[in-house]
Symmetry: C2
Subunit: 315 residues, 2 copies
Protein backbone atom coordinates (compact mmCIF):
# COMPACT_ATOMS: atom_id res chain seq x y z
CA UNK A 1 0.00 0.00 0.00
CA UNK A 2 3.04 2.30 0.29
CA UNK A 3 2.59 3.85 -3.18
CA UNK A 4 -1.05 4.60 -2.45
CA UNK A 5 -0.18 6.09 0.94
CA UNK A 6 2.42 8.33 -0.71
CA UNK A 7 -0.24 9.57 -3.15
CA UNK A 8 -2.57 10.34 -0.24
CA UNK A 9 0.25 12.26 1.43
CA UNK A 10 0.90 14.31 -1.70
CA UNK A 11 -2.82 14.95 -2.12
CA UNK A 12 -2.90 16.47 1.36
CA UNK A 13 -5.25 13.77 2.68
CA UNK A 14 -2.86 12.54 5.40
CA UNK A 15 -1.93 14.61 8.42
CA UNK A 16 1.64 13.58 9.28
CA UNK A 17 1.77 15.67 12.50
CA UNK A 18 -1.53 14.60 14.06
CA UNK A 19 -2.68 15.28 17.60
CA UNK A 20 -4.18 11.88 18.40
CA UNK A 21 -6.57 12.16 21.36
CA UNK A 22 -8.79 9.90 23.41
CA UNK A 23 -12.05 11.88 23.28
CA UNK A 24 -14.32 9.53 25.25
CA UNK A 25 -13.52 6.81 27.73
CA UNK A 26 -15.23 4.51 30.25
CA UNK A 27 -13.80 1.40 31.98
CA UNK A 28 -14.91 -0.69 28.95
CA UNK A 29 -14.70 1.63 25.94
CA UNK A 30 -12.71 4.44 24.36
CA UNK A 31 -13.13 6.67 21.33
CA UNK A 32 -10.00 8.07 19.71
CA UNK A 33 -9.74 10.96 17.24
CA UNK A 34 -6.90 10.18 14.82
CA UNK A 35 -6.76 13.78 13.50
CA UNK A 36 -6.36 12.68 9.91
CA UNK A 37 -3.36 10.40 10.48
CA UNK A 38 -2.67 7.11 8.71
CA UNK A 39 -4.59 4.36 10.52
CA UNK A 40 -1.83 2.00 11.60
CA UNK A 41 -0.37 3.59 14.76
CA UNK A 42 -3.70 4.80 16.13
CA UNK A 43 -5.19 1.34 15.54
CA UNK A 44 -2.45 -0.31 17.61
CA UNK A 45 -3.21 2.17 20.36
CA UNK A 46 -6.97 1.57 20.09
CA UNK A 47 -6.65 -2.22 20.13
CA UNK A 48 -4.27 -2.02 23.10
CA UNK A 49 -6.85 0.08 24.97
CA UNK A 50 -9.53 -2.53 24.17
CA UNK A 51 -7.17 -5.29 25.35
CA UNK A 52 -6.35 -3.51 28.64
CA UNK A 53 -10.02 -2.89 29.37
CA UNK A 54 -10.96 -6.49 28.49
CA UNK A 55 -8.26 -7.81 30.83
CA UNK A 56 -9.77 -5.79 33.68
CA UNK A 57 -13.49 -6.00 32.91
CA UNK A 58 -13.95 -9.03 30.61
CA UNK A 59 -14.87 -7.02 27.49
CA UNK A 60 -13.32 -3.90 25.96
CA UNK A 61 -14.10 -1.87 22.86
CA UNK A 62 -12.41 1.06 21.12
CA UNK A 63 -13.42 3.20 18.16
CA UNK A 64 -11.31 5.48 15.97
CA UNK A 65 -12.62 8.37 13.84
CA UNK A 66 -10.95 10.78 11.37
CA UNK A 67 -8.44 8.10 10.35
CA UNK A 68 -7.23 6.61 7.07
CA UNK A 69 -6.35 3.14 5.72
CA UNK A 70 -5.10 0.93 8.57
CA UNK A 71 -3.44 -1.87 6.57
CA UNK A 72 -4.51 -5.47 7.20
CA UNK A 73 -7.41 -5.88 9.64
CA UNK A 74 -6.05 -9.23 10.85
CA UNK A 75 -2.98 -7.60 12.43
CA UNK A 76 -5.02 -5.95 15.18
CA UNK A 77 -7.32 -8.90 15.87
CA UNK A 78 -4.25 -11.15 16.10
CA UNK A 79 -2.66 -8.67 18.53
CA UNK A 80 -5.49 -9.50 20.96
CA UNK A 81 -5.21 -13.27 20.37
CA UNK A 82 -1.45 -13.09 21.07
CA UNK A 83 -2.30 -11.88 24.59
CA UNK A 84 -4.90 -14.60 25.14
CA UNK A 85 -8.04 -12.66 24.14
CA UNK A 86 -10.60 -12.92 21.35
CA UNK A 87 -10.03 -9.91 19.09
CA UNK A 88 -12.19 -8.18 16.49
CA UNK A 89 -11.07 -5.39 14.16
CA UNK A 90 -12.92 -3.71 11.34
CA UNK A 91 -12.80 -0.57 9.21
CA UNK A 92 -14.89 1.26 6.67
CA UNK A 93 -13.43 2.80 3.50
CA UNK A 94 -13.74 5.78 1.16
CA UNK A 95 -13.93 3.71 -2.04
CA UNK A 96 -17.31 2.71 -3.45
CA UNK A 97 -16.65 -0.63 -5.08
CA UNK A 98 -19.28 -2.98 -3.63
CA UNK A 99 -22.85 -2.86 -4.96
CA UNK A 100 -25.68 -3.91 -2.63
CA UNK A 101 -27.86 -6.78 -3.82
CA UNK A 102 -30.08 -5.49 -6.68
CA UNK A 103 -28.13 -2.18 -6.95
CA UNK A 104 -26.78 -0.67 -10.15
CA UNK A 105 -23.85 1.18 -8.49
CA UNK A 106 -21.23 0.62 -5.80
CA UNK A 107 -22.01 2.05 -2.36
CA UNK A 108 -19.67 0.31 0.10
CA UNK A 109 -15.95 -0.29 0.32
CA UNK A 110 -14.87 -3.90 0.67
CA UNK A 111 -15.39 -3.29 4.44
CA UNK A 112 -13.15 -5.96 5.93
CA UNK A 113 -13.56 -7.62 9.30
CA UNK A 114 -11.07 -9.76 11.19
CA UNK A 115 -11.57 -12.02 14.19
CA UNK A 116 -8.83 -13.91 16.01
CA UNK A 117 -8.93 -16.31 18.96
CA UNK A 118 -6.16 -18.01 20.95
CA UNK A 119 -5.61 -21.78 21.08
CA UNK A 120 -2.73 -23.52 22.84
CA UNK A 121 -1.37 -26.39 20.73
CA UNK A 122 -2.56 -24.82 17.49
CA UNK A 123 -1.85 -21.41 16.00
CA UNK A 124 -4.53 -18.81 16.68
CA UNK A 125 -7.75 -18.84 14.66
CA UNK A 126 -7.56 -15.76 12.39
CA UNK A 127 -10.39 -14.94 10.00
CA UNK A 128 -9.54 -11.81 7.98
CA UNK A 129 -12.04 -11.21 5.20
CA UNK A 130 -13.51 -8.55 2.95
CA UNK A 131 -17.31 -8.66 3.15
CA UNK A 132 -17.34 -8.68 -0.67
CA UNK A 133 -17.04 -12.03 -2.50
CA UNK A 134 -13.41 -11.16 -3.29
CA UNK A 135 -11.11 -8.24 -2.57
CA UNK A 136 -9.91 -5.76 -5.21
CA UNK A 137 -6.52 -7.45 -4.95
CA UNK A 138 -7.85 -10.75 -6.30
CA UNK A 139 -9.20 -9.02 -9.40
CA UNK A 140 -5.81 -7.36 -9.92
CA UNK A 141 -4.00 -10.70 -9.65
CA UNK A 142 -6.28 -12.16 -12.36
CA UNK A 143 -5.53 -9.15 -14.56
CA UNK A 144 -1.76 -9.41 -14.02
CA UNK A 145 -1.93 -13.09 -15.00
CA UNK A 146 -4.20 -12.61 -18.05
CA UNK A 147 -6.91 -14.75 -16.47
CA UNK A 148 -10.68 -14.30 -16.83
CA UNK A 149 -12.79 -13.22 -13.83
CA UNK A 150 -15.00 -16.01 -12.45
CA UNK A 151 -18.78 -15.63 -12.64
CA UNK A 152 -20.23 -13.79 -9.64
CA UNK A 153 -17.21 -11.71 -8.57
CA UNK A 154 -18.12 -8.43 -10.21
CA UNK A 155 -21.24 -7.19 -12.02
CA UNK A 156 -21.89 -4.47 -14.62
CA UNK A 157 -24.73 -1.92 -14.45
CA UNK A 158 -27.15 -4.46 -15.90
CA UNK A 159 -26.34 -6.98 -13.19
CA UNK A 160 -24.38 -9.17 -15.60
CA UNK A 161 -21.17 -10.90 -14.54
CA UNK A 162 -17.98 -9.36 -16.00
CA UNK A 163 -15.42 -11.92 -17.16
CA UNK A 164 -12.80 -9.68 -18.80
CA UNK A 165 -10.29 -8.60 -16.15
CA UNK A 166 -9.42 -5.27 -17.78
CA UNK A 167 -13.10 -4.39 -18.01
CA UNK A 168 -13.56 -5.47 -14.38
CA UNK A 169 -10.83 -3.04 -13.29
CA UNK A 170 -12.54 -0.24 -15.18
CA UNK A 171 -15.69 -0.86 -13.16
CA UNK A 172 -13.66 -0.86 -9.94
CA UNK A 173 -11.43 2.15 -10.56
CA UNK A 174 -13.18 4.38 -13.10
CA UNK A 175 -16.89 3.77 -13.24
CA UNK A 176 -19.55 4.40 -10.65
CA UNK A 177 -21.81 1.75 -12.17
CA UNK A 178 -21.63 -1.92 -11.27
CA UNK A 179 -19.28 -3.24 -8.64
CA UNK A 180 -17.87 -6.13 -6.69
CA UNK A 181 -20.59 -8.43 -5.35
CA UNK A 182 -21.23 -8.80 -1.61
CA UNK A 183 -20.25 -12.21 -0.17
CA UNK A 184 -22.71 -14.75 -1.59
CA UNK A 185 -22.21 -13.40 -5.10
CA UNK A 186 -25.76 -13.63 -6.44
CA UNK A 187 -29.21 -13.07 -4.97
CA UNK A 188 -29.86 -16.82 -5.35
CA UNK A 189 -26.81 -17.60 -3.22
CA UNK A 190 -27.90 -15.10 -0.56
CA UNK A 191 -25.71 -12.09 -1.40
CA UNK A 192 -28.04 -10.10 0.87
CA UNK A 193 -26.03 -11.65 3.70
CA UNK A 194 -22.71 -10.26 2.46
CA UNK A 195 -24.47 -6.94 1.81
CA UNK A 196 -25.84 -7.01 5.37
CA UNK A 197 -22.36 -7.75 6.74
CA UNK A 198 -20.94 -4.78 4.77
CA UNK A 199 -23.64 -2.61 6.33
CA UNK A 200 -22.84 -4.04 9.78
CA UNK A 201 -19.17 -3.07 9.33
CA UNK A 202 -20.34 0.42 8.32
CA UNK A 203 -22.53 0.61 11.45
CA UNK A 204 -19.65 -0.34 13.78
CA UNK A 205 -16.67 1.36 12.07
CA UNK A 206 -18.61 4.33 10.68
CA UNK A 207 -21.94 5.17 12.31
CA UNK A 208 -20.95 4.16 15.87
CA UNK A 209 -17.61 5.99 15.95
CA UNK A 210 -18.60 9.01 13.84
CA UNK A 211 -16.78 7.98 10.66
CA UNK A 212 -18.13 9.00 7.24
CA UNK A 213 -20.19 6.55 5.17
CA UNK A 214 -18.71 6.75 1.69
CA UNK A 215 -22.16 6.05 0.26
CA UNK A 216 -23.24 9.43 1.68
CA UNK A 217 -20.06 11.42 0.95
CA UNK A 218 -19.82 9.71 -2.46
CA UNK A 219 -16.12 9.32 -1.74
CA UNK A 220 -15.59 13.11 -1.57
CA UNK A 221 -13.28 14.67 1.02
CA UNK A 222 -14.79 16.70 3.86
CA UNK A 223 -14.22 20.36 4.80
CA UNK A 224 -10.82 19.43 6.25
CA UNK A 225 -9.89 17.71 2.98
CA UNK A 226 -10.14 14.30 4.68
CA UNK A 227 -12.09 11.06 4.18
CA UNK A 228 -12.81 10.53 7.92
CA UNK A 229 -12.37 6.77 7.89
CA UNK A 230 -13.49 4.94 11.05
CA UNK A 231 -12.32 1.74 12.74
CA UNK A 232 -13.75 -0.39 15.52
CA UNK A 233 -11.89 -2.85 17.77
CA UNK A 234 -13.08 -5.23 20.44
CA UNK A 235 -11.47 -7.69 22.83
CA UNK A 236 -13.11 -10.38 24.98
CA UNK A 237 -11.28 -12.21 27.76
CA UNK A 238 -12.18 -15.93 27.76
CA UNK A 239 -10.94 -15.97 31.38
CA UNK A 240 -14.04 -13.96 32.36
CA UNK A 241 -16.29 -16.75 31.06
CA UNK A 242 -14.33 -19.99 31.56
CA UNK A 243 -11.84 -21.58 33.95
CA UNK A 244 -8.26 -20.75 33.03
CA UNK A 245 -7.19 -22.73 29.94
CA UNK A 246 -10.61 -24.22 29.20
CA UNK A 247 -11.28 -21.95 26.21
CA UNK A 248 -7.91 -22.65 24.61
CA UNK A 249 -8.29 -26.41 25.17
CA UNK A 250 -11.76 -26.47 23.59
CA UNK A 251 -10.62 -24.34 20.66
CA UNK A 252 -7.69 -26.70 20.12
CA UNK A 253 -10.12 -29.61 20.03
CA UNK A 254 -12.35 -27.76 17.54
CA UNK A 255 -9.40 -26.94 15.29
CA UNK A 256 -8.24 -30.58 15.46
CA UNK A 257 -11.70 -31.81 14.45
CA UNK A 258 -11.77 -29.38 11.51
CA UNK A 259 -8.27 -30.37 10.36
CA UNK A 260 -9.24 -34.03 10.73
CA UNK A 261 -12.48 -33.73 8.74
CA UNK A 262 -12.36 -35.98 5.68
CA UNK A 263 -11.91 -33.86 2.53
CA UNK A 264 -13.64 -34.44 -0.81
CA UNK A 265 -10.20 -34.50 -2.45
CA UNK A 266 -7.45 -36.07 -0.27
CA UNK A 267 -4.90 -33.72 -1.82
CA UNK A 268 -6.86 -30.70 -0.54
CA UNK A 269 -7.20 -31.04 3.26
CA UNK A 270 -9.75 -29.03 5.23
CA UNK A 271 -8.16 -25.79 6.45
CA UNK A 272 -8.89 -23.50 9.40
CA UNK A 273 -9.04 -19.68 9.11
CA UNK A 274 -5.45 -18.41 9.14
CA UNK A 275 -3.84 -21.60 7.80
CA UNK A 276 -3.01 -20.20 4.33
CA UNK A 277 -1.46 -17.08 5.88
CA UNK A 278 0.62 -19.08 8.40
CA UNK A 279 1.91 -21.23 5.53
CA UNK A 280 2.76 -18.12 3.51
CA UNK A 281 4.58 -16.60 6.44
CA UNK A 282 6.67 -19.73 7.04
CA UNK A 283 7.60 -19.92 3.36
CA UNK A 284 8.50 -16.25 3.20
CA UNK A 285 10.58 -16.34 6.35
CA UNK A 286 12.78 -18.76 4.43
CA UNK A 287 12.57 -17.44 0.88
CA UNK A 288 11.86 -13.76 1.43
CA UNK A 289 8.93 -11.68 0.25
CA UNK A 290 8.49 -11.41 -3.52
CA UNK A 291 8.22 -7.74 -4.56
CA UNK A 292 7.14 -6.77 -8.10
CA UNK A 293 9.70 -4.65 -9.96
CA UNK A 294 7.17 -1.81 -10.28
CA UNK A 295 6.86 -1.68 -6.48
CA UNK A 296 10.64 -1.67 -5.97
CA UNK A 297 10.95 1.28 -8.35
CA UNK A 298 8.10 3.11 -6.62
CA UNK A 299 9.70 2.60 -3.22
CA UNK A 300 13.03 3.84 -4.60
CA UNK A 301 11.36 7.06 -5.76
CA UNK A 302 9.71 7.55 -2.38
CA UNK A 303 13.04 7.01 -0.58
CA UNK A 304 14.75 9.56 -2.83
CA UNK A 305 11.91 12.05 -2.40
CA UNK A 306 12.23 11.73 1.37
CA UNK A 307 16.02 11.79 1.42
CA UNK A 308 15.97 8.33 3.01
CA UNK A 309 18.65 5.73 2.26
CA UNK A 310 17.23 2.90 0.07
CA UNK A 311 18.11 -0.24 2.02
CA UNK A 312 15.62 -2.77 0.61
CA UNK A 313 17.45 -6.10 0.55
CA UNK A 314 16.80 -7.84 -2.75
CA UNK A 315 19.30 -10.59 -1.82
Amino acid sequence: MMLRYYELLHDGVLNMTPEIKVVRETPVMALIDADGSLGHAVSVRAMDLAITKAREMGIGGAGVRDSNHFGAAGVYALRAARTGLIGLSTTNAWTRTVAPTRARIGVFGTNPVAIAAPARRNRPFVLDMATSTVSVGKVNVRWLNDQPIPEGWILDEEGGSISDAARAREYIYKREEGGLTPLGGTAGLSSYKGYGLAALVEILAGTLVGGTFTGISRGERNEKGRFNIGHFFMAIDPGAFRESGAFEADLDEMIDVLHGTEPVDPSEPVLVAGDPEWAHMAEREVNGIPIPERLVEGLRVIAEDCGAEFVLDQG
Copy 2:
Protein backbone atom coordinates in the same frame (compact mmCIF):
# COMPACT_ATOMS: atom_id res chain seq x y z
CA MET B 1 -40.62 -25.34 15.87
CA MET B 2 -43.31 -26.49 18.36
CA LEU B 3 -43.51 -30.05 16.99
CA ARG B 4 -39.73 -30.40 17.22
CA TYR B 5 -39.70 -28.98 20.76
CA TYR B 6 -42.37 -31.47 21.78
CA GLU B 7 -40.23 -34.32 20.41
CA LEU B 8 -37.25 -33.03 22.40
CA LEU B 9 -39.44 -32.94 25.51
CA HIS B 10 -40.56 -36.55 24.96
CA ASP B 11 -36.98 -37.62 24.31
CA GLY B 12 -35.98 -36.24 27.73
CA VAL B 13 -33.69 -33.63 26.21
CA LEU B 14 -35.52 -30.64 27.70
CA ASN B 15 -35.58 -29.89 31.43
CA MET B 16 -38.95 -28.24 32.05
CA THR B 17 -38.18 -27.45 35.72
CA PRO B 18 -34.73 -25.89 35.30
CA GLU B 19 -32.79 -23.98 37.92
CA ILE B 20 -31.47 -21.17 35.76
CA LYS B 21 -28.50 -19.50 37.45
CA VAL B 22 -26.09 -16.65 36.76
CA VAL B 23 -22.78 -18.44 37.36
CA ARG B 24 -20.33 -15.60 36.54
CA GLU B 25 -20.84 -11.86 36.49
CA THR B 26 -18.84 -8.62 36.19
CA PRO B 27 -20.16 -5.09 35.50
CA VAL B 28 -19.91 -5.83 31.73
CA MET B 29 -20.56 -9.57 31.37
CA ALA B 30 -22.57 -12.49 32.70
CA LEU B 31 -22.62 -16.22 32.13
CA ILE B 32 -25.90 -18.07 32.70
CA ASP B 33 -26.42 -21.81 33.12
CA ALA B 34 -29.77 -22.71 31.54
CA ASP B 35 -29.88 -26.16 33.21
CA GLY B 36 -31.14 -27.87 30.08
CA SER B 37 -34.15 -25.60 29.53
CA LEU B 38 -35.50 -24.44 26.18
CA GLY B 39 -33.48 -21.41 25.05
CA HIS B 40 -36.15 -18.73 24.72
CA ALA B 41 -36.74 -17.51 28.30
CA VAL B 42 -33.10 -17.71 29.35
CA SER B 43 -32.10 -15.81 26.20
CA VAL B 44 -34.45 -12.94 27.03
CA ARG B 45 -32.89 -12.83 30.48
CA ALA B 46 -29.35 -12.93 29.05
CA MET B 47 -30.00 -10.20 26.48
CA ASP B 48 -31.65 -8.05 29.17
CA LEU B 49 -28.53 -8.44 31.34
CA ALA B 50 -26.34 -7.40 28.39
CA ILE B 51 -28.65 -4.41 27.77
CA THR B 52 -28.57 -3.29 31.42
CA LYS B 53 -24.77 -3.54 31.55
CA ALA B 54 -24.38 -1.70 28.22
CA ARG B 55 -26.62 1.11 29.48
CA GLU B 56 -24.34 1.55 32.49
CA MET B 57 -20.91 0.83 31.01
CA GLY B 58 -21.22 1.30 27.23
CA ILE B 59 -20.86 -2.38 26.32
CA GLY B 60 -22.39 -5.52 27.82
CA GLY B 61 -22.12 -9.22 26.96
CA ALA B 62 -23.88 -12.35 28.21
CA GLY B 63 -23.35 -16.02 27.49
CA VAL B 64 -25.66 -18.98 28.06
CA ARG B 65 -24.63 -22.63 28.37
CA ASP B 66 -26.55 -25.91 28.75
CA SER B 67 -29.45 -24.52 26.73
CA ASN B 68 -31.46 -25.66 23.71
CA HIS B 69 -32.95 -24.09 20.56
CA PHE B 70 -33.75 -20.40 21.21
CA GLY B 71 -36.04 -19.69 18.25
CA ALA B 72 -35.20 -16.80 15.91
CA ALA B 73 -31.89 -15.05 16.65
CA GLY B 74 -33.24 -11.72 15.43
CA VAL B 75 -35.74 -11.48 18.29
CA TYR B 76 -33.00 -10.91 20.87
CA ALA B 77 -30.89 -8.54 18.77
CA LEU B 78 -34.04 -6.52 18.02
CA ARG B 79 -34.81 -6.41 21.76
CA ALA B 80 -31.60 -4.37 22.21
CA ALA B 81 -32.35 -2.10 19.22
CA ARG B 82 -35.84 -1.41 20.63
CA THR B 83 -34.16 0.14 23.68
CA GLY B 84 -31.73 2.21 21.60
CA LEU B 85 -28.73 -0.16 21.59
CA ILE B 86 -26.87 -2.14 18.96
CA GLY B 87 -27.64 -5.80 19.67
CA LEU B 88 -25.95 -9.06 18.65
CA SER B 89 -27.29 -12.56 19.26
CA THR B 90 -25.96 -15.90 18.13
CA THR B 91 -26.25 -19.60 18.91
CA ASN B 92 -24.60 -22.86 18.02
CA ALA B 93 -26.56 -26.03 17.28
CA TRP B 94 -26.51 -29.82 17.73
CA THR B 95 -27.20 -30.62 14.07
CA ARG B 96 -24.31 -31.22 11.65
CA THR B 97 -25.63 -29.95 8.36
CA VAL B 98 -22.97 -27.50 7.12
CA ALA B 99 -19.78 -28.86 5.52
CA PRO B 100 -16.62 -26.72 5.75
CA THR B 101 -15.02 -25.73 2.45
CA ARG B 102 -13.40 -28.87 0.92
CA ALA B 103 -15.02 -31.21 3.50
CA ARG B 104 -16.89 -34.41 2.67
CA ILE B 105 -19.21 -34.27 5.73
CA GLY B 106 -21.22 -31.76 7.74
CA VAL B 107 -19.58 -30.43 10.90
CA PHE B 108 -21.48 -27.25 11.86
CA GLY B 109 -25.09 -26.33 12.42
CA THR B 110 -26.41 -23.45 10.35
CA ASN B 111 -25.03 -21.27 13.21
CA PRO B 112 -27.13 -18.13 12.84
CA VAL B 113 -26.13 -14.63 13.88
CA ALA B 114 -28.34 -11.56 14.19
CA ILE B 115 -27.42 -7.90 14.52
CA ALA B 116 -29.85 -5.04 15.04
CA ALA B 117 -29.34 -1.28 15.33
CA PRO B 118 -31.75 1.57 16.09
CA ALA B 119 -32.60 4.36 13.65
CA ARG B 120 -35.18 7.10 14.24
CA ARG B 121 -37.21 7.76 11.09
CA ASN B 122 -36.60 4.27 9.74
CA ARG B 123 -37.32 0.90 11.28
CA PRO B 124 -34.32 -0.72 13.00
CA PHE B 125 -31.64 -2.41 10.89
CA VAL B 126 -32.04 -6.15 11.55
CA LEU B 127 -29.74 -8.68 9.90
CA ASP B 128 -30.72 -12.23 10.91
CA MET B 129 -28.84 -14.84 8.89
CA ALA B 130 -27.67 -18.43 8.92
CA THR B 131 -23.94 -18.56 8.15
CA SER B 132 -24.74 -21.21 5.53
CA THR B 133 -25.75 -20.12 2.01
CA VAL B 134 -29.34 -20.96 2.88
CA SER B 135 -31.17 -22.32 5.91
CA VAL B 136 -32.67 -25.81 6.13
CA GLY B 137 -36.06 -24.11 5.87
CA LYS B 138 -35.37 -22.86 2.33
CA VAL B 139 -34.57 -26.40 1.16
CA ASN B 140 -37.82 -27.61 2.72
CA VAL B 141 -39.84 -24.89 0.94
CA ARG B 142 -38.35 -25.99 -2.42
CA TRP B 143 -39.28 -29.58 -1.61
CA LEU B 144 -42.85 -28.67 -0.62
CA ASN B 145 -43.23 -26.78 -3.89
CA ASP B 146 -41.64 -29.46 -6.11
CA GLN B 147 -38.86 -27.09 -7.16
CA PRO B 148 -35.23 -28.02 -7.90
CA ILE B 149 -32.43 -26.86 -5.57
CA PRO B 150 -30.24 -24.10 -7.08
CA GLU B 151 -26.59 -24.86 -7.77
CA GLY B 152 -24.36 -24.16 -4.76
CA TRP B 153 -26.86 -24.61 -1.92
CA ILE B 154 -26.03 -28.19 -0.93
CA LEU B 155 -23.29 -30.61 -1.95
CA ASP B 156 -22.97 -34.40 -1.94
CA GLU B 157 -19.95 -36.35 -0.66
CA GLU B 158 -18.14 -35.79 -3.97
CA GLY B 159 -18.57 -32.02 -3.71
CA GLY B 160 -21.19 -32.00 -6.47
CA SER B 161 -24.24 -29.75 -6.25
CA ILE B 162 -27.52 -31.57 -5.47
CA SER B 163 -30.50 -30.36 -7.50
CA ASP B 164 -33.19 -32.85 -6.47
CA ALA B 165 -34.95 -31.52 -3.36
CA ALA B 166 -35.84 -34.93 -1.93
CA ARG B 167 -32.22 -36.05 -2.29
CA ALA B 168 -31.09 -32.79 -0.66
CA ARG B 169 -33.29 -33.48 2.37
CA GLU B 170 -31.80 -36.95 2.66
CA TYR B 171 -28.36 -35.37 2.92
CA ILE B 172 -29.62 -32.93 5.55
CA TYR B 173 -31.63 -35.27 7.74
CA LYS B 174 -30.29 -38.78 7.19
CA ARG B 175 -26.76 -38.82 5.85
CA GLU B 176 -23.57 -37.68 7.47
CA GLU B 177 -21.94 -37.06 4.07
CA GLY B 178 -22.24 -33.83 2.16
CA GLY B 179 -24.09 -30.84 3.52
CA LEU B 180 -25.29 -27.28 3.14
CA THR B 181 -22.57 -24.98 1.83
CA PRO B 182 -21.18 -22.16 3.97
CA LEU B 183 -22.12 -18.63 2.76
CA GLY B 184 -20.28 -18.07 -0.52
CA GLY B 185 -21.41 -21.45 -1.84
CA THR B 186 -18.27 -22.55 -3.68
CA ALA B 187 -14.54 -22.23 -3.05
CA GLY B 188 -14.32 -19.90 -6.07
CA LEU B 189 -16.91 -17.59 -4.52
CA SER B 190 -15.03 -17.58 -1.18
CA SER B 191 -17.08 -20.09 0.83
CA TYR B 192 -14.13 -20.12 3.25
CA LYS B 193 -15.62 -16.84 4.53
CA GLY B 194 -18.98 -18.40 5.37
CA TYR B 195 -17.11 -21.36 6.89
CA GLY B 196 -15.02 -18.93 8.95
CA LEU B 197 -18.16 -17.14 10.13
CA ALA B 198 -19.70 -20.49 11.16
CA ALA B 199 -16.53 -21.17 13.17
CA LEU B 200 -16.69 -17.67 14.69
CA VAL B 201 -20.26 -18.33 15.86
CA GLU B 202 -19.04 -21.60 17.36
CA ILE B 203 -16.21 -19.74 19.14
CA LEU B 204 -18.58 -17.18 20.69
CA ALA B 205 -21.70 -19.28 21.36
CA GLY B 206 -19.84 -22.56 22.07
CA THR B 207 -16.19 -22.31 23.06
CA LEU B 208 -16.45 -19.00 24.98
CA VAL B 209 -19.51 -19.94 27.03
CA GLY B 210 -18.73 -23.64 27.51
CA GLY B 211 -21.28 -25.00 25.05
CA THR B 212 -20.64 -28.23 23.13
CA PHE B 213 -19.29 -28.14 19.57
CA THR B 214 -21.48 -30.59 17.66
CA GLY B 215 -18.48 -31.40 15.46
CA ILE B 216 -16.83 -32.90 18.55
CA SER B 217 -19.90 -34.52 20.16
CA ARG B 218 -21.03 -35.67 16.69
CA GLY B 219 -24.51 -34.56 17.73
CA GLU B 220 -24.64 -37.07 20.61
CA ARG B 221 -26.17 -36.16 23.97
CA ASN B 222 -23.89 -35.73 26.99
CA GLU B 223 -23.91 -37.62 30.30
CA LYS B 224 -26.98 -35.62 31.39
CA GLY B 225 -28.75 -36.60 28.15
CA ARG B 226 -28.45 -33.03 26.86
CA PHE B 227 -26.97 -31.27 23.82
CA ASN B 228 -25.50 -28.34 25.83
CA ILE B 229 -26.29 -25.65 23.26
CA GLY B 230 -24.67 -22.26 23.88
CA HIS B 231 -25.74 -18.70 23.03
CA PHE B 232 -23.94 -15.37 23.10
CA PHE B 233 -25.48 -11.90 23.32
CA MET B 234 -23.95 -8.45 23.19
CA ALA B 235 -25.23 -4.88 23.43
CA ILE B 236 -23.41 -1.63 22.65
CA ASP B 237 -24.74 1.79 23.66
CA PRO B 238 -24.23 4.35 20.85
CA GLY B 239 -24.64 7.03 23.54
CA ALA B 240 -21.23 6.02 24.94
CA PHE B 241 -19.56 6.85 21.61
CA ARG B 242 -21.67 9.67 20.09
CA GLU B 243 -23.70 12.71 21.15
CA SER B 244 -27.31 11.81 21.88
CA GLY B 245 -29.20 11.13 18.65
CA ALA B 246 -26.17 11.34 16.33
CA PHE B 247 -25.98 7.58 15.76
CA GLU B 248 -29.67 7.26 14.94
CA ALA B 249 -29.52 10.28 12.59
CA ASP B 250 -26.49 8.89 10.72
CA LEU B 251 -28.06 5.41 10.48
CA ASP B 252 -31.24 6.99 9.08
CA GLU B 253 -29.14 8.75 6.45
CA MET B 254 -27.35 5.50 5.57
CA ILE B 255 -30.64 3.60 5.27
CA ASP B 256 -32.08 6.40 3.09
CA VAL B 257 -29.04 6.23 0.78
CA LEU B 258 -29.39 2.45 0.47
CA HIS B 259 -33.14 2.65 -0.24
CA GLY B 260 -32.43 5.41 -2.76
CA THR B 261 -29.70 3.51 -4.61
CA GLU B 262 -30.68 2.96 -8.22
CA PRO B 263 -31.64 -0.70 -8.78
CA VAL B 264 -30.72 -2.79 -11.83
CA ASP B 265 -34.42 -3.58 -12.23
CA PRO B 266 -36.76 -0.70 -11.26
CA SER B 267 -39.37 -3.22 -10.10
CA GLU B 268 -36.90 -4.62 -7.54
CA PRO B 269 -35.77 -1.76 -5.29
CA VAL B 270 -32.68 -2.03 -3.09
CA LEU B 271 -33.67 -3.31 0.36
CA VAL B 272 -32.10 -2.93 3.80
CA ALA B 273 -31.69 -5.82 6.25
CA GLY B 274 -35.03 -6.39 7.94
CA ASP B 275 -37.21 -4.92 5.15
CA PRO B 276 -38.63 -8.27 3.96
CA GLU B 277 -39.50 -9.24 7.54
CA TRP B 278 -41.17 -5.89 8.32
CA ALA B 279 -43.24 -6.27 5.13
CA HIS B 280 -44.23 -9.82 6.12
CA MET B 281 -45.22 -8.66 9.58
CA ALA B 282 -47.42 -5.86 8.24
CA GLU B 283 -49.12 -8.24 5.83
CA ARG B 284 -49.70 -10.87 8.48
CA GLU B 285 -51.05 -8.41 11.00
CA VAL B 286 -53.84 -7.85 8.47
CA ASN B 287 -54.27 -11.29 6.96
CA GLY B 288 -53.12 -13.56 9.76
CA ILE B 289 -50.34 -16.14 9.80
CA PRO B 290 -50.74 -19.05 7.36
CA ILE B 291 -50.37 -22.37 9.16
CA PRO B 292 -50.01 -25.64 7.22
CA GLU B 293 -52.70 -28.20 8.03
CA ARG B 294 -50.03 -30.65 9.24
CA LEU B 295 -48.91 -28.12 11.83
CA VAL B 296 -52.46 -27.43 13.01
CA GLU B 297 -52.98 -31.16 13.54
CA GLY B 298 -49.66 -31.45 15.37
CA LEU B 299 -50.55 -28.58 17.67
CA ARG B 300 -53.96 -30.15 18.34
CA VAL B 301 -52.28 -33.38 19.45
CA ILE B 302 -49.90 -31.48 21.72
CA ALA B 303 -52.79 -29.55 23.28
CA GLU B 304 -54.69 -32.79 23.92
CA ASP B 305 -51.58 -34.48 25.35
CA CYS B 306 -51.13 -31.58 27.75
CA GLY B 307 -54.79 -31.27 28.63
CA ALA B 308 -54.77 -27.72 27.26
CA GLU B 309 -57.76 -26.18 25.50
CA PHE B 310 -57.14 -25.82 21.74
CA VAL B 311 -57.87 -22.16 21.04
CA LEU B 312 -55.99 -21.58 17.77
CA ASP B 313 -58.07 -19.12 15.77
CA GLN B 314 -58.33 -20.26 12.17
CA GLY B 315 -60.73 -17.37 11.47
